[in-house]
Amino acid sequence: MNRHRILLAHGGGGSLTQELIQRLFVPAFKMSSLDDAAVLAVDRVRLAFTTDSYVVKPYVFPGGDIGRLAVCGTVNDLAVQGAQPLWLSLSFILEEGLPVADLESIVASIATTASEAGVTIVTGDTKVVERGQCEGLYINTAGIGRVAGRRSVSHAGAKPGDVVLINGPIGEHGVAVMSRRAGIEFQTSVVSDSAPVWPLVKAILDLGAEVHTLRDPTRGGVAAALNDIATASGVGIRLEEKALPIGREVRGACDLLGLDPLTIANEGKLLVICRQADAERVLATMKRQPLGRQAVVIGEVMETPKAMVLLRTTIGGERIVDMPTGEDLPRIC
C-alpha cells in the first residue's frame, strides 16, 4: 500500500477496500474464503457467522435508521450464504450527549426489525466515548445462522450461461440517506429499502432450483457486488441497461450528483444468479414474495471477458461497469 494513511475511500466498499483486504487482512490472518459470512461446521451442523459495523450518517433517514440497518445488514449477509439467521450480538458505541429519546427509538427499531427477521438478540455491549469522538452512535452486530440446504451458495459460484436477477429497484437506500445528509439535502420521496431478505432467499432455495450465487448489493451497489462475483467466479457478466430497475427519482438524484445508480448502496436487494433453465421459475417464485414483486432479469453470465462486468446501453453500445473506487465524489460543473 503506497499510502501512509487510511483514506475515507478505504471504507467505501470499492477497489481501495479490496486493496486493504487483499494486501493486509488476508495475508495476516491466512484467510481463504472471503464470502459475506463464514460457514463453519460444528458437529454435523453448518453455521454461518458474520459481523458488520454501522456508522451511517445521519442515524435516522427516510425509511429507516441505524438500528434497522444494523439488523438487516447482518442478517442479510447470513441469508445470502443460504443461512437462516438465528442469533445476533449487539454492541453500541455511544457519543456523550446523545439524547436518550433517540437511543430509545433506535432500540425499539432494532427490536421490531429483529422480530421481523426472526432473530434473537442474545448478547451485547455498551461503550460511551467523549463528545466529538463519534457522531451520535455506532453499532456493531455479529450474527449466527444455520445453513439451510446441503448445496452451498458462494459468490464464486456463477457459471457461463447463468442468468442474473434482482428483486426490485436499485439505489434507494443510498439516495434516501444522501437526501438527508448535511450539505446535500434534497426533497425526495425515495425511502431506504432496508429489509431482511431471508424469506425471499428461503422461497428461492425451497424451489430446489440450481441457484449458484446470492448476494446483497450493499456498499458499492450492484456494480461492486457483480464485480466481486465476476472476479471470484472467473466469469464475465453482461447487464442490459434497458432492463435495470431504476426509479425516476433515484435516477434524477444520481444525475444531479453525478453518481451511477449501479454504485449506490441497497439494503433490501438480492442479486440471484441461477441456471438459465431455472430462471423462469425462480423469477415467478420471487414475484410471489412481498420483497420480490418487482423482480426482473437484468443480465447474463458469460465465459469471457473474465472478471468483468459489461453493460449493453440503451443506444446499443457496450461499456464496462467498473468496481467503484470508494467514496463517491459528487461532480462539479
Binding site: R5, I320, P330
Partner: protein, 355 residues
C-alpha cells in the same frame, strides 16, 4: 423517422474525407463513453474530447496553493468533491485531509458561505473552479458575502470561460476539428449565440446539445449534415433548455463580480481573456489577494499526457501511464480523477490498459 445511427451512417457515406468532431464538455465526454457511443460511429467519423473538464484544465500550481492553504490551522478549505483527489506536486487535498487538514466537501458555493457564518473564528476558502455553469453561483456567493460584510469568506478563483479555449484550439491548428459539440450547461448561461464567431471566423459548424446519448447522436448527425451541405452555423439541438441569448441574470452577476483575465490552462498554456478574476471592488474576498497566496510552478509527472489528451491530440490509450501506474484509485494526472475526465471515462467504461 429514421434512427439517428442510420442517418449518421447515411451521411457518413457522403463524406469525401474523414471528419473529427470535438466535444468540449466533461458531461458530454462522460455520457459518450458511458453509452458506448464511440464504437457505434462509422469509421470516418471520430469524436474527440476537448478541454471540457474544469478540474482537468486547472493548473497544478493551483492545487498546491489550495493544499498550502489547507495546512493553516485557522483556514477551512471548502471544495466540490471533484478536486479532492487531484494530485498536486506532492500530495492531494484528500491525503492532506487524512493527515488532519481542514478540508470540507460542499455542494455549492452558498454552502461554503453558510460554513463561514457558522465558523466565525475560521477563514473559509472556497475553491472556485469551473466554467460558466459554476461561475455565476460563485459570483452570487461573493455578492452575498459583500451584503453581509462577511470577513471570513474567500474564493481562490480559477474560473474559466469556454469560447476562448475553443478559439485557441482552432487558432493553434494542432488538431483538425471539423465541428464542435457545444456544451449544454454552459450554453444555458451564455446562450447559443456565443459560438457564432467560430462559424464566422473558422467556417466550422457548432451544435449545442443535451446530455442523453440520443442528444449527442443527434448533434453528430446535425454536424455531419452541415459538413455534407457545406454549411457552418450554430444549431441548437437543446432548445428545451438553451436559448439564443442565455440567462441575462447570471450573465449580469458574473460581470458584476468577475472580469476577464489571461489564464493558464493545463496542457494548453495561457489563453488570453479566458479566465475570470474577481474585480477590485470585491478584492477582499479574493483569497489570492487577501490571503496573499503565491502560485509556484508545480512539479508534474513528465510522462503524464493529460495536457495532450485535453487538446484532442492523443487518446488516453496513447499514454504510457494509463491503466498501469495511473488509475482512479492511484491517479497521476487530473484526467484520471475527475468524474468528467477523459481518462477516467475511458478507464471506467472502455478498457483497463493500453494494448
Amino acid at each position: 423517422m429514421k434512427l439517428p445511427l442510420q442517418e449518421i451512417a447515411g451521411l457518413a457515406q457522403r463524406l469525401t474525407r474523414p471528419v473529427q468532431f470535438m466535444e468540449v464538455c466533461g458531461t458530454h465526454t462522460m455520457a459518450a463513453y458511458r453509452s458506448g457511443l464511440h464504437q457505434l460511429l462509422p469509421p470516418n467519423v471520430r469524436l474527440l474530447s476537448g478541454p471540457g473538464c474544469p478540474v482537468c484544465v486547472t493548473d497544478p500550481s493551483y492545487i498546491d496553493a489550495a493544499i498550502e492553504l489547507a495546512g493553516h490551522p485557522d483556514i477551512i478549505v471548502a471544495t466540490f468533491g471533484d478536486l479532492l483527489r487531484v494530485p498536486g506536486s506532492d500530495s492531494s487535498l484528500e491525503q492532506e485531509r487524512a493527515a488532519g487538514a481542514n478540508v470540507r466537501i460542499v455542494y455549492s458555493p452558498s454552502d461554503a458561505l453558510v460554513l463561514a457564518r457558522e465558523c466565525p473564528s475560521k477563514k473559509v476558502v472556497f475553491l472556485g473552479v469551473g466554467f460558466e455553469t459554476t461561475a455565476p453561483t460563485v459570483a452570487w456567493a461573493i455578492s452575498q458575502a459583500a451584503l453581509d460584510d462577511r470577513k471570513n469568506f474567500f474564493v481562490l478563483c480559477a474560473h474559466k470561460t469556454m469560447p476562448q479555449a475553443m478559439d485557441a484550439l482552432l487558432h493553434g491548428q494542432a488538431v483538425k476539428i471539423d465541428g464542435f459539440i457545444c456544451p449544454g450547461h454552459v450554453s444555458v448561461i451564455t446562450g447559443a449565440q456565443m459560438y457564432r464567431f467560430i462559424c464566422e471566423r473558422y467556417r466550422i459548424p457548432c451544435v449545442v446539445t443535451g446530455f442523453e446519448p440520443w442528444d449527442i447522436l443527434s448533434a453528430i448527425k446535425m454536424l455531419l449534415r452541415q459538413v455534407v451541405e457545406g454549411r457552418a452555423e450554430v444549431e441548437n439541438e437543446y432548445s428545451r433548455s438553451v436559448s439564443e441569448a442565455g440567462n441575462p441574470v447570471a450573465q449580469r452577476l458574473m460581470a458584476q463580480v468577475f472580469e476577464p483575465c489571461d489564464v493558464v490552462w493545463r496542457g494548453i498554456g495561457t489563453i488570453p481573456g479566458s479566465g475570470l478574476r474577481i474585480r477590485k471592488e470585491y478584492a477582499r474576498f479574493d483569497a489570492a489577494v487577501a490571503l496573499d497566496v503565491t502560485f509556484v510552478e508545480a512539479r508534474v509527472n513528465p510522462s503524464c499526457l493529460c495536457g495532450t489528451v485535453m487538446r484532442g491530440m492523443a487518446t488516453p490509450f496513447d499514454c504510457r501511464l494509463f491503466g498501469r501506474a495511473c488509475s482512479p484509485s492511484h491517479p497521476i494526472g487530473p484526467c484520471m480523477v475527475s468524474s468528467e475526465g477523459v481518462c477516467a471515462a475511458c478507464f471506467k467504461y472502455e478498457k483497463r490498459a493500453a494494448a
